[in-house]
């Protein structure tokens, strides 16, 4: 049960600010995923936490005590490096056993723990090899093994699965999820793969340019992204964005908006909560409507549905068998992706009519800030 707290942490490398005031609480016994575009400072944040870098300002607390001045050793945190960082001159076994030997564990204990970790990570047949004789994916797993044999207070994973093939990645994702349940420790997990973040993490932290954009459970981020950046980051394929303008306030709960294609729709926006942004909400102001590919459906020709229809033409089909991502170009020059299931034979160039429900739309004001979250799906 190790909680890590970052308070106003900043980090600059020679006057280049890399981390800009991060306030973050990493809950104990949970997995926190750190996602963000390349170069936004994810690895730097991990290095700050494990003590390889010292924050320029701010404090880092592990279990309530400030560790700013503590060397990495004293923090008891294990890290899996993005570059594996295996010891080139040691065998796989020694790589995993090194920290234990240093810590003075007994030989049988070491052998048992290493064997166990190696089995879990499916590298038990490689124990006699040196890192040079391993593939990238195998090295990555050895690096994970080196961290887990130690039973540390917390794990920091820096993109641990980035070098695996799709099948192995899914399998390792499952193994990590199991490991997480088994070890029951604090995990911080950096990834580019938002699928990994969504499935493994209890909390997702989205970073941009050294600052946290939004933090929340996977579902919170999926349902209520705070701004366009988060909205475009979570979800695969990414959310569609359509330009719109405000036509009029119907009442203080409902807004009439018009898409570029001329369709109008009524969206529920709690005006009370948004009062302070009044200037952005005048009639004629620009908005962005976000709609996820999975929330668009093909309009049925037989049944008339209440809602908004988008007419367009199929420009590309990515058929995955059980479902297809269909790229539709709208007459006004915008494009949307749609996830369709069932019979997925769509000819390119065919006309298609899409149906969207206003409840599914994310509404962003002209600054890119979300005006509402989607309703929580009631648990059943």
């Amino acid at each position: 049960m190790t909680t890590i707290v970052l308070k106003d942490v900043t980090k600059s490398f020679k006057d280049h600010p890399i981390i800009n005031g991060v306030n973050l609480t990493i809950e104990g016994n949970a997995c926190t995923a750190l996602v963000g575009p390349s170069g936004c400072g994810k690895s730097t944040l991990l290095r700050l936490i494990c003590g390889l870098e010292e924050p320029t300002t701010g404090e880092i607390y592990v279990d309530g005590s400030c560790v700013n001045r503590l060397p990495p050793v004293a923090r008891g945190i294990a890290m899996v490096f993005q570059s594996y960082a295996l010891y080139p001159h040691m065998t796989v076994f020694d790589n995993m056993a090194f920290a234990l030997k240093i810590a003075g564990c007994s030989k049988t204990d070491i052998a048992r723990r290493v064997q166990h970790a190696a089995k879990t990570l499916k590298v038990d047949h490689l124990l006699d090899r040196t890192p040079k004789q391993l593939s990238g994916g195998q090295r990555q797993r050895v690096a994970i093994g080196r961290a887990i044999v130690r039973h540390p207070k917390a794990f920091l994973f820096d993109e641990p699965l980035s070098n695996l093939d799709a099948a192995l990645r899914l399998q390792m994702r499952y193994e990590l999820a199991r490991l997480k349940a088994e070890l029951n420790t604090t995990m911080v997990y950096v990834t580019h793969d938002q699928g990994e973040a969504m499935t493994l993490a209890d909390t997702i932290v989205i970073m941009r340019e050294g600052a946290i954009e939004q933090q929340g459970t996977p579902l919170e981020l999926y349902r209520s992204p705070k701004n366009l950046f988060v909205a475009s980051f979570i979800g695969s394929p990414t959310m569609n964005f359509l330009h719109a303008i405000i036509v009029a306030w119907q009442d203080d709960q409902h807004l009439n908006i018009r898409l570029r294609s001329g369709e109008t729709l009524v969206v529920q926006v709690p005006y009370e909560a948004l009062k302070w942004k009044e200037s952005l909400l005048e009639e004629g102001s620009e908005l962005t409507v976000g709609i996820r590919p999975e929330n668009l459906t093909e309009a049925s020709s037989r049944r008339k549905q209440a809602g908004t229809h988008l007419k367009g033409r199929v420009s590309l089909v990515e058929n995955l068998g059980h479902e297809a991502y269909v790229y539709v170009s709208l007459p006004v020059g915008e494009h949307v992706k749609v996830r369709l299931t069932g019979n997925c034979n769509y000819a390119i160039g065919r006309d298609i009519s899409l149906f969207l429900r206003s409840e599914d739309c994310h509404i962003f004001d002209s600054n890119g800030e979300a005006m509402r979250g989607l309703k929580e799906i009631p648990l059943c």
Binding site: P72, I77, F81, F98, A99, K132, R146
Partner: protein, 294 residues
């Protein structure tokens, strides 16, 4: 097949100048020395030499002075090379850290290596002069020694002096080689070790040293071969003293001073074989580390 042979023909064509130069500057002198070592050639009249077979070598192997020279050379290498390696490693480790003025220090460390040996040996010779030398003067004034020491005259002391001056001169070379090796090591596994809870001392012995071993062995080979051929430093610091005479000085003495080209060549050939033997030994020792990692 046609293409292959024309390709190798072109290759030979390109290699020819290099092979020619190598033949002229390496193979021919070596061969000539071998041949001369089997004759009774004299410096005054090399052309009228007679074959005397292995007589020169028989004489050489019973000459106590020669074995003295061999011992001196081996002792010199055995003392100077490890000292240089240890000091060089220490300096390399310091220079590997980032601190203000590191660039300047790196340049400064190189100065002894940059001065020609003749110059630095003469310089040290003056400084260590038993009557006029500044070192004796300073030590006496500081009270470290009661009377001036015969740095380059007493048998054991002059050996120590030679080793010390050689260490002074070649440690920078060692340091620079090892620094290059240190900088090529993967940084991330040191960080991994820090996170793994390994102390700095252990990191040095369990990670730095094993990873640096190939570089260290190469540096040792270079330095040992150099040390076995040592000439100028000893020649200038203690010329004509049989207590510090090395193999190459012995060869030169017989070759030039006694004009006995055949005998001198035989000594040179023996020196060649000693050097070759040590090289083979090192390469065998280092094979696992150098080639195994490739």
């Amino acid at each position: 097949m046609q293409q292959h042979s024309s390709l190798s023909k072109t290759a030979w064509l390109f290699m020819t100048p290099c092979l020619l130069v190598l033949f002229v500057v390496a193979a021919w002198p070596l061969l000539r020395t071998f041949m001369l070592s089997l004759t009774n050639a004299r410096l005054e009249d090399i052309t009228h030499a007679q074959w005397i077979g292995s007589a020169n070598f028989r004489d050489l192997f019973v000459d106590a002075e020669w074995w003295g020279a061999v011992t001196n050379t081996l002792l010199f290498a055995a003392f100077s090379v490890p000292c240089e390696a240890i000091l060089g490693l220490m300096i390399a480790l310091v220079l590997h850290k980032t601190f203000k003025g590191r660039g300047l220090l790196r340049a400064a460390v190189l100065v002894p290596w940059a001065i020609p040996t003749i110059v630095s040996a003469r310089m040290w010779g003056w400084m260590l002069h038993d009557v006029y030398g500044i070192i004796n003067e300073l030590l006496v004034r500081l009270g470290a020694i009661a009377a001036p020491l015969p740095w380059t005259a007493s048998p054991t002391l002059s050996f120590v002096t030679i080793v010390l001056v050689d260490v002074w001169k070649t440690t920078p070379f060692m340091a620079l080689l090892l620094l290059a090796g240190l900088q090529a090591l993967p940084q991330d596994c040191f960080e991994a070790a820090l996170v793994d809870g390994v102390s700095r001392k252990r990191i040095f012995f369990r990670i730095t040293m094993p990873l640096l071993r190939p570089t260290l062995i190469i540096a040792l080979i270079f330095r040992t071969l150099d040390a076995l051929r040592v000439f100028d430093l000893v020649y200038i610091l203690s010329s004509g003293d049989s207590n510090t005479e090395t193999m190459s000085i012995y060869a030169r003495r017989h070759f030039v001073d006694y004009a006995n080209v055949g005998y001198g060549s035989a000594a040179a050939v023996c020196l060649f074989f000693v050097v070759a033997l040590v090289t083979v030994f090192y390469i065998n020792m280092g094979r696992r580390n150098i080639l195994g990692d490739a």
